[in-house]
Point group: D3
Chain length 222, copies 6
């Protein structure tokens, strides 16, 4: 039985980054953690059409894994197909946006989100509203850097510090969530710079999946 | 290193019940799980004065365990000392009320709470308000059974079914939380009766603690 | 130029019902109103997988109509693809759930929703939360009748009156929304029975589309 | 039968501006649109006393028009008498504040409001709270220009751009509402400058009135 | 200097009831408390038109008293003219609805409101929304008794107990507000019956006015 | 019978400042107002552990005064022991944070809070959330001055003006609350500087206690 961390875009490079992020947790997991790539998915999930369009593919992908699975993590910050996969699977299903927000709620009273582009923020706002936790949101602010620009480490770091500082000092965030899997590598450095917790959502979600796998044992044991 | 599940009342019997509830998770935990009793605590935590009064004792108890701890679970549904222990400890600190609510938010859109007595509900409401998740609450309804009455299994079961059915059908709850450690033994049976998930908060909190211990590895590994 | 009212399921019978509902508005519309059926869609949209799965089909269907369109109405109470179609089209796009809720907000302080089955309610709750209008919701209650059962007029009417009365008297709703296109034929009769406004969402949405087509003239005229 | 757009202040010049704003919609309306002036009203509605004081006059004015009316638009951003006129009239009654906010909710996830003076903002906040849509508000910010100052186009434009830019970039608004009929002439230019939708509330309200007149046909036809 | 408790309807009998309710507070007030009747007001304030229509009269009435006043209490549960009188007067202005709700928030976590008729509830809901305290409202439920029916003590008492019990046991209210000045005489008896605090709003408001008169001394003394 | 204003820290100097702040109200109070110091308390209440730890002491202190008391004011902005003392005492119990917020809600639509340090803000946010009034909060911003730094009048005044101006102009607060008893002496001067009401919480709470003492007479008189 395995926790499957599914990257719903087709970028193998993103999957590699996710794998690196969750790798230290493998030794603490009761079951193997396997990252995989939705090879039929789009190169990146940037629009609502991408979010909705990937769901059928994701459901099929996970249906094929159902028998071997202890749980699923959907590793895209729009949590595509989260509700649908929960309807389909009998295992715990964790979305990285939802899990990172719930984790942030234990680490600070108000959470900030760093988004890649301002175009994703309305989508996040609908989601935070659907979760019913708008009062805990400090702000969601964009780097205004495209995925290509993220390759430029100097520019990305500068913007991460600017936006993170703004979230901490202007929006009064007590904890910051990296609102995209592409910022994984900056987590520890940004946390040190800001002096408040910084959450990488794939890690937060995989941690919750590990907890839920343990919980399943209690549920079945009773 | 150990996850300590601290029962902040002095009832050894309650601690035994908690231990039984979390026992099946031990095989899935990367570290030992140890339950313990705050022997200087009150026999039960029933008033706000009990909640506030137990905090200093709890902090001292946990300070003594800090060096051996991977994390702490506060095993009382009023989450006494949660914020204070988070200020004191460098490890993850999980409260069973908060953790059960966050877990419920992944298992259903609206959660119901079954309380022992109506007197605890205003305290719960302040807490759900402080968490900022009032829109996710279906209702919090009381058994109106004192702790002594809980020993009467026939009466307790009858009221659990009545209140749970009311939460599901009138308040439209999609998931139900047992709002007291004393109802642990009824979880599976009530879930089967109601046909919607029923969460035992000590289990939910310990599961989150296991996840957070795993997460710490990722945070330190980066 | 035309307002297209798109039924995203493949049931021609449902489309006929929608057409009958909006027909009296044709004489008041500045442009033709055309109902159409997503023939590749599922027979009914009952699960989250159906909601997400129909989006790509709907986007393709509407892309083909874009040049002839003044606006689009998505005629399913889950508003599938609403955000995505708004990203794709340069015309006003109206979802029947959103439009019926916004219309209800002008007709009464608290709105109730009558759903077919309790399984759709969590989906509705996420949506009402994403809209940020949870404080205006009185309650969402199910008929617990499947689509097949709706054919039984006696049973359906009895349940509509029961649920509508409960929404009015227990949940204190001032206006009621029919949360499914299959209840169209009962609107006037239920309104008369309850003595408060009853909203049929396809009508409400098409009315808003007519208004938006008029608004476009003002936006372009300035 | 006619849609009456009632300017509740006695300034004929304001009525002329409103008429110009809604004029392009006349060709798309199933009934005539007539603007009129509450000649007994105050020169401007600037205080809560003005808002409350104008209601009796407005009710009398509209009572006289009831027999000829298809619907009423109250063309003042404080929506004076909206609830009272709804109690009195059997036709749809639309307030420009409410209608512009509901329209904004279909055009963007978070709306900003540009007010003339900071003194009107508490009144707006009570109204947004009464509507139950505070979570959708990005911010309400003032030009701090009196009505006389609005005649100075250079100053007004400069402030509109400053405040609009602040709403878009700091408050993260996705759509902006002009919170006063006196800014009508700047709508298109400001929308172009900001690159996000800008809503003129008299136009939004009249569009909704047109939709509601169409809806009445469906309600009566059934 | 005097606290003026203004009954904005013209019923001298209502004023007498208010006077009796606040009379025991006179010995604890630093200034005289005088009740007065808006003789030009309507016999009762039952519609939104009444609420709005009485404001100009009330403002004039209070302007004439301004020089002798320490503060004003508006003694109608719709708080007519509250915001307008605050703009006009330099003294503390207290509305009985607002003051009773703020008082209830210190006496219990969730408050219930007993209204005369269901027609007043939407008005109350807009007000609770404008106050931003919807999460503290348990429910607002009507006696469905007209003012005339209130003269029938047997019927009124029976309904008060029914509605109060429903608020306490179904809506889980911890404190109940009498949502109309006409129920003053039943406060103590209902409180005894229900076993939870029952607030008479004229008393709560006058108490707050006494406090505010004291506060003014501190504000001026510094 | 006496209103006891209890400073829950052991600093006699703080008590002196509180006494000076409430002194002008004595002439307007129906009963004596006595300030006292919890001599066993910590020198200052700066952490959640201090807040929780002081409760048992406070309860004992107030139990000893119960027979002579008309009411209690807890004079620390974290309102330590408020709910517990309400359970214990039969008199009105007022917390300075709650009372200042309720008072602010009558003086302006949105209130700002000036905190000493950013570390207290999460505690305040939990409290505002528990009160259910988050929608009325403009912002809570810190001076970032320690208690020692407050002795430096030049620095403190400069920061008070900076933070107060930011709350008024950026966060759009209509009224400002001094979120610590140590800022009492600056109230009048800051109100004059900002041009909006500034609330000193010990004064606001004592004023409410005076009102509640008056209310008790009415409650008993009926």
């Amino acid at each position: 039985m395995t926790i499957f961390v599914v990257n719903p875009n087709c970028s193998q490079q993103v999957t590699v980054g996710i794998d690196r992020a969750v790798d230290p947790m493998r030794s603490a997991s009761p079951v193997p953690i396997e990252t995989c790539t939705l090879t039929e998915g789009p190169p990146g999930i940037e629009t609502q059409a991408h979010v909705d369009g990937v769901v059928a593919l994701l459901l099929a992908h996970c249906a094929a894994l159902e028998a071997q699975a202890s749980g699923f993590v959907i590793a895209c910050y729009s949590d595509p197909g989260l509700a649908a996969l929960r309807e389909q699977s009998s295992h715990p299903v964790i979305g990285i946006a939802e899990a990172s927000i719930l984790t942030a709620m234990m680490m600070g009273q108000r959470f900030g989100i760093i988004s890649i582009l301002s175009a994703s923020i309305p989508r996040h706002m609908r989601y935070v509203g659907a979760m019913g936790v708008m009062d805990r949101l400090a702000a969601d602010r964009p780097l205004e850097l495209g995925v290509a620009d993220l390759a430029n480490e100097t520019v990305t770091w500068k913007r991460l510090v600017q936006v993170g500082t703004n979230l901490r000092d202007e929006a009064m965030a007590n904890v910051v969530i990296l609102g995209c899997a592409g910022m994984t590598a900056y987590r520890a450095r940004l946390e040190q710079e800001l002096g408040i917790p910084v959450i990488e959502p794939c890690q937060a979600a995989t941690a919750m999946a590990i907890g839920r796998v343990a919980l399943q044992k209690a549920l079945e044991g009773k």
